[in-house]
Structure formats: structure tokens, C-alpha cells
């Protein structure tokens, strides 16, 4: 079982409500099964959509956290992927397009006793909500953001998205899209995110491992999940999924292990002359030149360089945890400021209302 530390609700009506529910319904249930995470709502994605596999993986994984369902909150934006909260028996909010990181920030900052998750899509997180995403990442509020990247706008029926490759032909770009895509991992590292990972929808084991590390991380975690939209962008990740090509083009990231990949470990990652990284043939370099993956490196330049290895057609795509570093979390620091303030200026409402200068009018 994984351990995730949660705080306590501050004294007052919230803590009273939590205590009342424990009084009537017994102690918090933390031994859960995947079926306990399901709701009575009919799942409404297109048959074959990658969202199903992710949902199954998450439903199976969440119980391993040892957190009661009522202490988990899933906040989403708008998009196919953002329907996620309806299918998890936790607290949830399906909010408005792009704003989930902001909403989750308010919740997580005021309730350190909760495990807060954001589910968002590539359009939701990177177009309309791009601003909220980068600011959430730099603040490091304790929450986990799952970014379902299908490289398309699914819910609005197939327009290109900020992660679509240049030249993408869609209904809104009949002659091909013109704008250069974001690499969500590069963007997150550029925003100084303390935890950044990437996983594939169909790779249950790899996805679960990244989710586990993300959940354990104190601070904002961003997990990019490649998700197949079989209706509007089918096969977008085939290059990486197909066993024939997958090993050649994906670079598995394991902390402390040398970055060797490809059939028979034929390829590897070495430093280039400009402080970045490049792909080399393993038999052409000395073993000591091969980079050993270090997700805990303070300086984000290394993780950024890793994220730049891949091209927009997904060749040389690192999969796994790029970066995981410890920094104080926003919510913990906010709580600390409140504690300090209580010592400095005990809460006396009468004195506050009177302020510094008062005068008395006698009867």
C-alpha cells in the first residue's frame, strides 16, 4: 500500500461535519476495492475510447492509496475526458472549460486534509486553461493533474488541439493546421513543476506506476496520459503502442537506471555539446557517457532536455517520471502563515473592528 499523508481539517463546522459522519457511519473506510470506486452512472464515452482504459486503471489504483473515498475530490474541466468525476465514487466537480486547476487550487489550499485530483484534456488544459495550468504548477499546491492528451478536441467533434502536429487536417483546418504544438511535459517543466510524468492509456502497469509516484508527491504533479480518441484521432499513438515500433521509439524512464532503449538496447541518451541531450547508438559510445536518469535533480534543465528529445511525430518519446523534486507546498505554507498570524495577532473581532483610533460619544 502507498502512503499519502493528508492533514486534518481545521476546527469548526467542517471538522464537526466530518466527525458527525464518522459518529453515525463508523470509522473511515480505507480498505477499498476497485468496485467501491464505481458509481451508478452510465459511462458515456464512445466504445473503444482510451478514456475507458484510463478509468479502469484509476479505479483499480485509487484504493491502493489507503485514502477513504470521501477524502478524495476529482475536479475536471470540460471535454470528453472531463466527464471522469461522474464515474468515481468520490466527491467531484465537473466544472467549466479550462478552470479546473484554479478551482482545485482553492479547494486544496483551504482543505489540506483532502486528496485533490484534476482531470483535464489537451484543449482544456493547454488552450483555454493554459494560464491556470502553468500557475498551478509554479505554485505547487498539493494536487495531482491528469492531462488526457488525445491531440484533438474530442467533445466538440474533432478540431485540432494545441498538441496536434503541424499540418493536422481537421474540420477547422481543411488545408492543415498551421500552429506548432505544445509539448505538455516541456511546458510543465518550463513552469517549474515539481513532478512531471508521462504514461500511455493502454499500459496499465506503466500508468499505475506513474500515478502512484504522482499521488505520493507532495505538491502539484502533472501526469500527461496519451489517450486514444478512436473517433477523431484514431491511432495517434500507434507508433509507441505497436510492439514492432514501440520499443524503438519510446524511452522508458527509470530513476537511477541508464537511459538505454530500443530493440536489444541499441539506442541510448548521452549529453550533447550544448548542455542538452541527444540520442546515440549504444555501441558507438562509452558506457560512462550514457546518462543515468535522475528524476530528483533540482535544476529543471535536465528534465527539460529529456522532454525535448521527442519530435512532434512522437519518435524518441520518454515515458515515465521526468522530474520529481521536493519543494514546500503552497497549501502547507499558507496554513503556516495562518498559524504564525494567530500567534502575532490573536483573533479579537472587537479589537479589529475598533481599529487604532476611536473616540467615545457620551450619552
Amino acid at each position: 500500500m502507498t502512503t499519502v499523508e493528508l492533514g486534518m481539517p481545521a476546527e469548526g463546522p467542517i471538522a464537526d461535519a466530518v466527525a458527525a459522519s464518522v459518529a453515525t457511519q463508523g470509522p473511515k473506510q480505507t480498505e477499498l476495492k476497485a468496485k467501491d470506486m464505481k458509481t451508478d452512472q452510465e459511462v458515456r464515452w464512445c466504445p473503444g475510447c482510451g478514456d475507458y482504459v484510463i478509468l479502469n486503471a484509476v479505479q483499480s489504483f485509487l484504493p491502493s492509496l489507503g485514502i477513504a473515498r470521501e477524502d478524495m475530490v476529482i475536479v475536471s474541466g470540460i471535454g470528453c475526458s472531463s466527464r471522469f468525476p461522474y464515474y468515481l465514487n468520490t466527491y467531484g466537480m465537473h466544472s467549466i472549460h479550462g478552470r479546473a486547476p484554479a478551482i482545485a487550487t482553492g479547494l486544496a489550499a483551504s482543505r489540506p486534509d483532502l486528496s485533490v485530483w484534476v482531470v483535464t484534456g489537451d484543449g482544456d488544459a493547454l488552450s483555454i486553461g493554459g494560464n491556470h495550468l502553468i500557475h498551478a504548477l509554479r505554485r505547487n499546491v498539493n494536487m495531482t493533474i491528469l492531462l488526457f492528451n488525445n491531440r484533438i478536441y474530442g467533445l466538440t467533434k474533432g478540431q485540432y488541439s494545441p498538441t496536434s502536429e503541424v499540418g493536422k487536417v481537421t474540420k477547422s483546418t481543411p488545408m492543415g493546421s498551421l500552429d506548432h504544438p505544445f509539448n505538455p511535459v516541456s511546458l510543465a517543466i518550463g513552469a517549474d513543476a515539481t513532478f512531471v510524468g508521462r504514461a500511455m492509456d493502454s499500459d496499465r502497469k506503466g500508468l499505475t506506476e506513474v500515478l502512484r509516484q504522482a499521488a505520493e508527491h507532495q505538491g502539484t504533479s502533472l501526469v500527461e496520459i496519451y489517450q486514444n480518441c478512436n473517433i477523431f484521432n484514431d491511432g495517434a499513438f500507434e507508433l509507441l503502442k505497436d510492439p514492432a515500433t514501440g520499443t524503438q521509439w519510446s524511452i522508458p524512464l527509470v530513476h537511477g537506471e541508464p537511459l538505454v532503449f530500443g530493440p536489444d538496447g541499441a539506442s541510448c541518451v548521452v549529453r550533447d555539446d550544448f548542455g542538452g541531450l541527444r540520442i546515440a547508438e549504444t555501441n558507438q559510445v562509452d558506457a560512462s557517457e550514457i546518462v543515468v536518469h535522475d528524476a530528483h535533480r533540482e535544476n529543471p534543465a535536465y528534465a527539460f532536455a529529456l522532454s525535448r528529445l521527442s519530435s512532434q511525430d512522437l519518435r524518441y518519446t520518454p515515458m515515465g517520471v521526468f522530474r520529481s523534486v521536493r519543494k514546500p507546498t503552497y497549501d502547507a505554507m499558507m496554513t503556516e502563515q495562518l498559524d504564525v498570524a494567530r500567534v502575532q495577532e490573536p483573533a479579537d473581532l472587537g479589537a479589529l473592528l475598533a481599529g487604532g483610533d476611536t473616540w467615545e460619544v457620551k450619552a
Partner: protein, 661 residues
């Protein structure tokens, strides 16, 4: 001067055998004007504090440019502060100053038009250099060319007297000059017999870490005071007796401070933690600043990346059981619209403060206006009713904040609290309330902790987040962490009771009407219409909302003093309106509605009650003048008292005598 001038009561003799007389006045309006860098706002605020602690009733009108430092000595850089204080209760910062202090030619040029003939004009002669005069287009020096003959002009070298007073202070000339505002304050403090200890304490406190600056300012302040006492330039000083006020403890308070304290009090009285999500914007930023100081009251403040994140975070916090608040001005409300709709749909409590400023777009950031009313009412997609309430004076911002919270928590709804730039920065004496007498809001919280119903398939013991309280129609509010109550909410239409997604036509119709009915039902919890009609004979009523309360009230007093009757109706709750408002309006032959917009409340009243409201509007970025409003009212009364033939109003309803049928 407008005041009753009495012969001197107590000649005082100053050193040097100078005999000075003291004149008693019932009220004075002073305007301090200078360059934005001259510290006029600070000087005005200090004079206000002295005046407040002396016990006068008062009202202030700060007026400053949007630029932090417009080019020195230019017209756009002029900043002013008007203070009206009296020995009786007053309602406005005064239409026109009796005394104008102009620290430079630009300040004179920008403000002289407002000073009535014969008024006292105090000028800093040092600043009337050819260069400064040329900057604002004076061909000759008005101090010398006779153009100021219509006023009692006293021109004194304020700057050089300040530097003289500070020549041993060790400060450079430029630095010493910066204390000229304190010299001026000292002079005015002598002229109006203001207590000085407060200012000295204030300077010591403010410059705690720079004792030499504190000492210089105090020295300049004292020098100004002594100059008044000894100079022949000012032969008279004035006394304005304290105003009779209800017994109690008082302080001076601005609208933004009062609003902030009201929110803190609402948090304390409900027991909920406060979460403010905000993005800086004039004139609302001071609420963010003020609340950020009060963390010990369980107040979390979050300076968001934009207005949307500000409200988003507040909604997230409300979902978690906090009192979510977002504060902004009109442009920010525009950005928040979609999120307000989410709060309407999810039926979560939220207080949205809009400190209105001149619009549209960036508009007039530092000037006042009431033009966001319809935005507050309707500025969202879909049928998205939101309660709207507005404070009427700086001190009233405190009570309005508590009332907004009461509604938000009781009815689980976002509430719009409409302040404005004039209330935000204006100040008045405020009776410090007794904490135990403040509304107890603990009963409004009642988090759901147990299942409350049965599912459609008959399963007992489930939690229905959209099951409503029969009386208030508020939905059940269960917070994360509460076992067995897990539920999902969101912006998609909710099925009645379960809150599940529903696209059912009948359900949408039902839910739309239910959300409206919930807001309409708030009327049952608010007072009946506030009408002031002392003799009960009025056939003309003046209706207003928000900060026009003071000017309308002052105008009505003038009318009544002239022997006529007029009723003042003031709306604190604009959505929903008091239950009897239609009936009340119907009692009057004429209803006038002055607003600092182009007739937004008039539009609502006409639409709702089919009353032929006469709209009187002004959008100059400044509050109404009482005299101007009195003239408008007088004209309508004159017209109404002539026998009038029944008129057909716009709505086709006879509006001559009681328009509502």
C-alpha cells in the same frame, strides 16, 4: 461661506500681541488639491482622522488620477481630496468647497471652477514659477494679475517655509520639500482647531524605521501650526462644534475597509473559514490588501493569476465548506461571468464584490459609477439569477457584507455585492458595533452529514445533493470529508434531487424555474421598502440604490427645508426587491430615479412594475451634487402640483396617479 457666521466668541492672543478672532461655523467643505506626488490623499486622510476624533460628522471624496505619477505639475497629474465636516449629521462630501488649497498652478486651474465666488483660496506661492505656470497654459501669474480677485486669496510660500523649518534636520532640500503637505496640514489644523496628537502619533508610527523622516514631518507639521498662530495672513480661525451622535464608540472608516471587516465578521459569525480569491484591480484592491492582514481570523487570501482563477478558487473553497469570496471591479466581473454561472448551477455560496468604476472597458479606473447593475443582474448566459445588494454609505459596506453572506449561505447561491469607487475610498464616522449584537450566522451553515433520501430505484439511505429545504429552496450542502455523502456536481443541468446529469426537457424547465424561485423567495427574508417621508404628504418620490443615497438624502432635506414634501425610497436589495415595492411606488404621482449610469434601475422598475419612472442620470465619474438633485426634484414637484391630466406612460398604463394596477 455657506455657514452661519457668528461674531467672534473668543479672541485669542498669539505671541507678539496679535489678536486673532474665532468664528463658529456649522459646517465646512475643504478641498486639498496638488500634484499626485504631493501627498494630498495622505494629508486629506490625516485631516479626516483629526476631524473624526474631534467628533464632527464628516464625509470625504478622494479624487485622483489613474496614473501613479502623471507628469509633475500637469493637469492630468492633479489629485484632490474633499472633506465635508459639520456640527450636525451630513450625507455627502459637499457639492462645492468653501476652502480650496492649491499646491501648484495645475491644482488651481483644475479646481478653481468649483470654488464659489468669495471662497477662501490658499496657494503655495513658491510653486507659481514661470515654468509651472507655462506647463498648464497660464500666460501670466494669477496671484499677481488680479484674476483671483473674486476670491479671498491667501498666497503663502508653503514650500520655502517648510524647507526653512527643516534646515537643521539634516535632510536635503528636495527631501525637506516633501514635508510641505505636513506643513499645510499643520496650518489647516490650526485654522480649524483640530486635535494634533493623532497626527503626531501617526507620523511616529508610519516612519518607525526612519526616525529622521518622522522627526522632519512632525517638525513641518508643528511649524505649519505655529505659522497659523503667528502670521497676520490668517486673522481668523474657525470652530465647528462636535456633531450630536448616538452614544457609543466611533472610528473613521472607508467603504473598502468597512466591507473587508464585514467579511471578516461574517466569517467569524458563521464559524466558516474565509477564502478570498482575487486579482488586483482598482478600486477593489484594498479589500484584498485588508483581508490579507487578517489571517488570524481564519482568512485565506489568494492572489490569483487572473479574475477567472480568483473566482474559480473561491468556488473550489466553497465546495470544500469555506465561505468563498471574490472581489473585483466591472472588468473583472466580465471575466468571471461564466464562473458565476457555475456557482448558480452548483448552488454553492459565494460572495462576489464588485467595486464599480467608470466603464465600459478599462473606462475610468479611479472614478465612480453605478453602471454595472444590469451586468450584475443579467450578465451571464442562460437564466442565471443572482441576488444583488448594494451598500449606501462607507460604513454601511460593513452591514451589507454581512447581509450578502447571510443570503449566500442561507440560500446556497452566489451573491453580488455592488459597491462603487465613491463608497470604497470615501470615509465617514462609524459607530463600532458590539460583536455580540452582530447577526448570528451559525444557523445558515448546517452541513449535511447523513443520507437524506432514497434513490430512484428505491435504494434507501442515499444522499441527494439537490434535495431542497422546503422554505428556502436551498439544496443540501455536504462537504468533502463527510463519509457516505460523496456526490458529483457541475455545470451541466442537474436532475432534481439527485443532481445527476439530466437533459430531460421537463426537468430543465423545472430546475430553471426552481433556481429563479429560490432567488425570488429571498424577498421573504428582507425588510419591506425603506421609505423616508417625514410628513407623509409627498406625492413625489425619489428612488435610488447604492451610493446615491447620500446625495439624494441631502437633496430631499433641502426640498423639505423649503417647505415641500418629498419621499426618499432607498433600495438596499435590488434582487430580489422588497415584496411591497410595487405597491409603495404606486402611492406616488411621480417617481424620480437618479443614477450614475444611463438609467439601469429605472429600466428594471419600469419593466417590473410598469411605473413611469423619470430617470435622471449622470456619468461624470463623480457623485451627484445635492443642489443639482434638489433642482431636479423641485422641477418635478412644481410640475406635479399643477393639475395634471392623466398621462399614458410608455407601458400604456395610466401613470398620473398610482401607476401600478
Amino acid at each position: 461661506m455657506t455657514a452661519i457666521e457668528r461674531p467672534e466668541t473668543a479672541p485669542s492672543s498669539a505671541p507678539g500681541g496679535l489678536v486673532k478672532s474665532v468664528v463658529e461655523l456649522d459646517r465646512v467643505v475643504i478641498r486639498l488639491a496638488g500634484d499626485s506626488g504631493d501627498g494630498m490623499q495622505l494629508t486629506g486622510n490625516r485631516f479626516t482622522s483629526e476631524t473624526a476624533s474631534f467628533g464632527n460628522d464628516l464625509s470625504t471624496l478622494p479624487n485622483f488620477p489613474a496614473e501613479i505619477r502623471a507628469p509633475t505639475g500637469t493637469l492630468p497629474g492633479v489629485s484632490s481630496f474633499q472633506l465635508h465636516f459639520a456640527d450636525h449629521d451630513i450625507m455627502t462630501p459637499g457639492d462645492a468647497p468653501d476652502v480650496l488649497v492649491a499646491m501648484n498652478p495645475a491644482a488651481l486651474k483644475a479646481n478653481l471652477v468649483d470654488l464659489p465666488g468669495g471662497g477662501l483660496l490658499i496657494l503655495d506661492s513658491d510653486e507659481f514659477s514661470p515654468r509651472n505656470l507655462a506647463k498648464v497654459g497660464y500666460a501670466s501669474n494669477p496671484i499677481e494679475d488680479g484674476s483671483l480677485e473674486g476670491w479671498q486669496t491667501v498666497s503663502v510660500p508653503l514650500t520655502s517655509m517648510t524647507t526653512d523649518a527643516l534646515k537643521d534636520s539634516g535632510l536635503g532640500k528636495k527631501e525637506a520639500e516633501r514635508s510641505k503637505n505636513m506643513f499645510t496640514l499643520g496650518l489647516l489644523s490650526w485654522m480649524y482647531h483640530r486635535p494634533t496628537e493623532g497626527t503626531i502619533r501617526f507620523l511616529e508610527r508610519t516612519f518607525r524605521r526612519k526616525p529622521e523622516i518622522a522627526a522632519a514631518n512632525i517638525a513641518a507639521f508643528r511649524a505649519g501650526y505655529n505659522y497659523g498662530e503667528t502670521t497676520e495672513a490668517f486673522a481668523v480661525s474657525y470652530e465647528i462644534k462636535p456633531a450630536p451622535m448616538a452614544p457609543g464608540r466611533y472610528r473613521n472608516i472607508s467603504g473598502n475597509t468597512a466591507l473587508s471587516l464585514g467579511l471578516v465578521a461574517a466569517g467569524q459569525r458563521s464559524g466558516l473559514p474565509i477564502f478570498l480569491g482575487a486579482y488586483p484591480i482598482t478600486p477593489a484592491s484594498d479589500i484584498l490588501h485588508e483581508l490579507s492582514k487578517h489571517k488570524s481570523f481564519n482568512v485565506r487570501t489568494f492572489q490569483a493569476e487572473d479574475e477567472i482563477a480568483g473566482i474559480g478558487a473561491a468556488i473550489g473553497a466553497s465546495f470544500g465548506g469555506a465561505l468563498g469570496i471574490t472581489t473585483t471591479s466591472g472588468p473583472g466581473v466580465s471575466l468571471k461571468s461564466e464562473a458565476i454561472g457555475l456557482a448558480v448551477m452548483t448552488e454553492l455560496p459565494l460572495v462576489i464584490v464588485d467595486v464599480q468604476r467608470g466603464g465600459p472597458s478599462t473606462g475610468l479606473p479611479t472614478k465612480t459609477e453605478q453602471s454595472d447593475l444590469l451586468q450584475a443582474m443579467f450578465g451571464r448566459n442562460g437564466e442565471a439569477p443572482v441576488p444583488v445588494i448594494a451598500p449606501r454609505s462607507p460604513g454601511d459596506c460593513f452591514d451589507a457584507a454581512i447581509e450578502a453572506t447571510r443570503i449566500a449561505l442561507t440560500y446556497r447561491t452566489p451573491v453580488m455585492l455592488l459597491s462603487d469607487g465613491y463608497l470604497a475610498n470615501g470615509a465617514e464616522p462609524w459607530q463600532v458595533p458590539d460583536v455580540d449584537q452582530l447577526p448570528d450566522l451559525t444557523g445558515t451553515v448546517n452541513f449535511a452529514t447523513e443520507p437524506n433520501g432514497a434513490a430512484a430505484d428505491g435504494e434507501e439511505g442515499v444522499f441527494l445533493p439537490y434535495l431542497r429545504d422546503e422554505e428556502t429552496l436551498a439544496r443540501a450542502w455536504a462537504v468533502p470529508g463527510t463519509a457516505g455523502m460523496q456526490h458529483r456536481i457541475g455545470g451541466l443541468e442537474k436532475a432534481d434531487r439527485t443532481g445527476n446529469i439530466s437533459y430531460d426537457p421537463a426537468n430543465h424547465d423545472f430546475m430553471t424555474r426552481t433556481r429563479q424561485a429560490k432567488i425570488d423567495g429571498i424577498a421573504a427574508s428582507i425588510p419591506l421598502t425603506d421609505v423616508e417621508d417625514p410628513d407623509g404628504n409627498a406625492s413625489v418620490a425619489v428612488i435610488g440604490w447604492g451610493s446615491t443615497y447620500g446625495p439624494i438624502g441631502a437633496a430631499c432635506r433641502r426640498i423639505r427645508r423649503s417647505g415641500r414634501s418629498v419621499a426618499q425610497i432607498h433600495l438596499r436589495h435590488i434582487n430580489p426587491m422588497p415584496a411591497d415595492l410595487g405597491e409603495v411606488l404606486g402611492r406616488y404621482d411621480r417617481v424620480i430615479c437618479p443614477e450614475m449610469n444611463l438609467g439601469q434601475l429605472s429600466l428594471l422598475l419600469r419593466a417590473k412594475f410598469l411605473v413611469d419612472v423619470e430617470s435622471h442620470t449622470q456619468v461624470r465619474g463623480l457623485p451627484f451634487r445635492a443642489a443639482e438633485l434638489a433642482a431636479v426634484i423641485q422641477e418635478v414637484i412644481d410640475r406635479t402640483s399643477e393639475p395634471v391630466a392623466p398621462q399614458v406612460g410608455e407601458a400604456g398604463i395610466t401613470a398620473g396617479n398610482g401607476a401600478v394596477q
